[in-house]
């Protein structure tokens, strides 16, 4: 017996010692290709990050400057000032094109509301109410009074001390401050005598706001009545990303394999939902302050995993196996899946192998390109807004794949059969949005999506996927 052992060992040792076999063609090239990215992976990653950062910077810069340009054109007081005022200030080359300083002359006139004007003219120690001033704005206002082009220097400088005392603890805080103007009579007279005097007009909240905090309309939500805001019909674009938990709802009686009848209870027991991701570009159109239509282009993934997938001989071929899930069937050649399709050995003396048993988690993914049409309604409207949304989200199947997950590896198995190319989802959600500025906002939108029709066909089980997602993103108003 010992000799037998030595003989067989020695036989193999003799023949295989120093055994060579020509290395496969292309093996070196594959090796080389795999080694190169590792060497260059890091710089390449940085290059990509840098490129992305530059693109983002350019995009936001363009948007910002475009936005600023537009604001300057539309809202600077200088452009709204009568020609005679501009003609007076321009020759001095001091406050030309300076909207803030330009504002001062007018605003000082306008900052005395009609009612206050009456008080000023009638009383020596009258009072007027003013919204708070940021220290910079105050200083600039005061400084502007020193410009030679503005002839009312004396009167304003006499108000300097009083105004300076109105410094606020927080420039973001909007409160009402009462400022004493001991020389209001003189100021009023000076203004009246000024050649550039224009008819006093009632100061609108927008103008007051511009005077106080500049053109940052982000604060306008808090002090400007909604009715006075600009028309809110506008487009906005953004980018959204979300983790997605998806699973499905089953209906129907089940279906038969060559060995057994498989019912939905089995699948409900063995299959689980899975986490994936979705993302895309959003495009919104606001009809008014509250109602908007949200659309865009999104790539979303749904799917499920199965710890104990049903496997049986394919009726179509003796060499193939069918892996059956509630969503559909995947046909594979088990010989190519040695890692997961383990051949049972009933008896080691028996040279005819038994059936295959499946080991590993079977995962099915379906990727859809969706174009949602969702109506959003702002229930709460402020810097923090709360949105209620509902609508449809049809999608086209762009990727259908399945794989075994074994020891952290993915062993691709092919596609799930009889999946319809289109999905019709209903969508509803409740989200919040926070306005960073006039143009920019961020959002968090939990969404629930449910397929209105089964996505599979030719099966005794109807498969309705649903998903819960938490979209977060950024939106830019055009």
């Amino acid at each position: 017996m010992a000799d037998d052992k030595r003989h067989i060992d020695q036989l193999f040792k003799d023949y295989l010692s120093g055994y060579k076999a020509p290395a496969p063609k292309g093996a070196w090239e594959r090796l080389q290709a795999e080694m190169q990215p590792k060497e260059k992976g890091l710089p390449l990653m940085y290059l990509r990050l840098a490129a992305a950062a530059i693109l983002l910077f350019i995009a936001f810069s363009s948007g910002y400057f475009w936005s600023e340009f537009k604001n300057t054109d539309n809202s600077t007081v200088v452009s709204e000032m009568p020609n005679d005022i501009q003609q007076e200030t321009t020759p001095e080359n001091v406050i030309q094109n300076n909207s803030l300083q330009g504002t001062t002359t007018e605003s000082l006139k306008n900052s005395i509301p009609e009612t206050s004007n009456k008080q000023i003219t009638k009383t020596d120690a009258g009072k007027f109410e003013s919204a708070p001033l940021a220290q910079d704005a105050i200083n600039q206002d005061i400084e502007s009074q020193k410009q030679p082009a503005v002839q009312n220097e004396m009167a304003l400088s006499e108000n300097k001390e009083v105004l300076a005392e109105t410094a606020l603890p927080d420039e973001n805080t909007v409160i009402v401050t009462t400022v004493e103007v001991p020389k209001t009579d003189e100021l009023a007279n000076q203004i009246d005598q000024d050649k550039n005097t224009i008819e006093p007009e009632k100061m609108s909240p927008e103008m007051l706001h511009q005077l106080l905090v500049g053109n940052d309309e982000a604060y306008a939500n808090e002090i400007i009545p909604k009715s006075n805001k600009q028309l809110t019909q506008q487009w906005s674009v953004g980018a959204q990303f979300s983790p997605v938990y998806s699973y499905r709802n089953l209906s129907g009686d089940g279906f038969s394999t060559p060995d057994e009848q498989v019912e939905q209870d089995y699948f409900n027991d063995k299959e689980n939902g899975l986490m994936a991701y979705a993302g895309g570009i959003s495009l919104n159109y606001g009809f008014n302050d509250r109602l908007s239509l949200a659309s865009g282009l999104y790539l979303s993934r749904i799917g499920q995993e199965n710890e104990d997938v049903v496997a049986y001989d394919s009726p179509d071929s003796p060499y193939l196996y069918n892996l059956a899930s509630s969503g559909g069937t995947v046909t594979i050649n088990p010989q190519k899946f040695e890692k997961v399709m383990v051949r049972e050995i009933d008896n080691t003396k028996d040279s005819v192998p038994g059936d295959y048993i499946v080991s590993g988690t079977f995962v099915q993914n379906l990727d859809y390109l969706e174009v949602p049409l969702v109506l959003k309604y702002k229930m709460l409207q402020s810097r923090f807004s709360v949105n209620l949304s509902g609508g449809l989200s049809p999608g086209i199947l762009v990727n259908n794949r399945s794989y075994f997950s074994v020891d952290g590896e993915k062993v691709q198995t092919g596609y799930t059969e009889n999946i319809k190319p289109v999905i019709y989802n209903s969508v509803m959600g409740l989200g919040i949005e926070y306005s960073i500025s006039t143009k920019l906002s961020i959002n968090l939108d939990p969404l629930f999506k449910y397929s209105l029709s089964p996505i599979n066909s030719n099966s005794g089980i109807k498969y309705h996927p649903y998903s819960i997602s938490w979209f977060t993103g950024i939106t830019y108003k055009l």
Binding site: M1, D3, D4, K5, H7, I8, D9, L11, F12, K13, Y15, L16, S17, G18, Y19, K20, A21, P22, A23, P24, A27, W28, R30, L31, Q32, E34, M35, E39, E338, K339, V340, V342, E344, I345, N347, T348, K349, I357, S359, G360, V406, D407, E409
Partner: protein
């Protein structure tokens, strides 16, 4: 380029040196990978992964022993790692086996080749194949094999016996001079 220059070049990630090293040992190592794998496809994977390890760890080669032996150990270890990843999936029945009797070298047909024997080895279950290779071809003890494969010594012995029995049977079945001729 001599071996020292090749090693130094590989440490410096010289593509030329890496290719020289590959050309020098690829055929030998592919031979090793073939009898540690169930098929050619997995042997290619093992060769690929093994050489990646060689290039990534060449700096750790201290020159103790031959470079070829060092690379061969990496290939065997790579095959072993692949086996370990799969091992829980394989169902083995170690109960009973029948021996096929003595393998008499004189009775083996003369044109048997290493390729034929590799085919037989590849036909073994992964665990039998691994134990047989490590014991019979690499010269490891059962204790060492047990540690490497995370099995008991008893299992290693049992697997070796089973592998031998299967190989003996198949050698006789396919490569012996036919019993008629032999007996006659």
């Amino acid at each position: 380029m001599n071996q020292q220059e090749i090693i130094k070049g590989c440490i410096d990630r010289s593509n030329k040196a890496q290719q020289a090293l590959y050309n020098l040992f690829a055929d030998d190592m592919f031979g090793v990978c073939l009898y540690y794998s169930p098929d050619r496809s997995e042997a290619e994977d093992t060769l690929h992964e093994g050489f990646l390890k060689v290039f990534n760890n060449i700096a750790s080669f201290k020159g103790e022993g031959s470079l070829k032996g060092w690379i061969r150990r990496i290939m065997v270890n790579t095959a072993l790692e692949k086996f370990r990843k799969k091992s829980p999936l394989y169902v083995l029945d170690n109960d009973g086996y029948e021996t096929a009797g003595d393998v008499d070298r004189e009775n083996i047909i003369s044109n048997i080749s290493a390729d034929d024997l590799i085919t037989l080895i590849q036909g073994l279950s992964p665990q039998y194949r691994m134990v047989f290779n490590l014991y019979a071809l690499e010269g490891y003890s059962h204790k060492e094999i047990a540690e490497m494969m995370k099995i008991s010594e008893g299992t290693s012995k049992s697997n070796l016996a089973r592998a031998r029995a299967i190989l003996q049977k198949k050698v006789k079945e396919y490569f012996y001079i036919s019993s008629k001729t032999h007996n006659g």
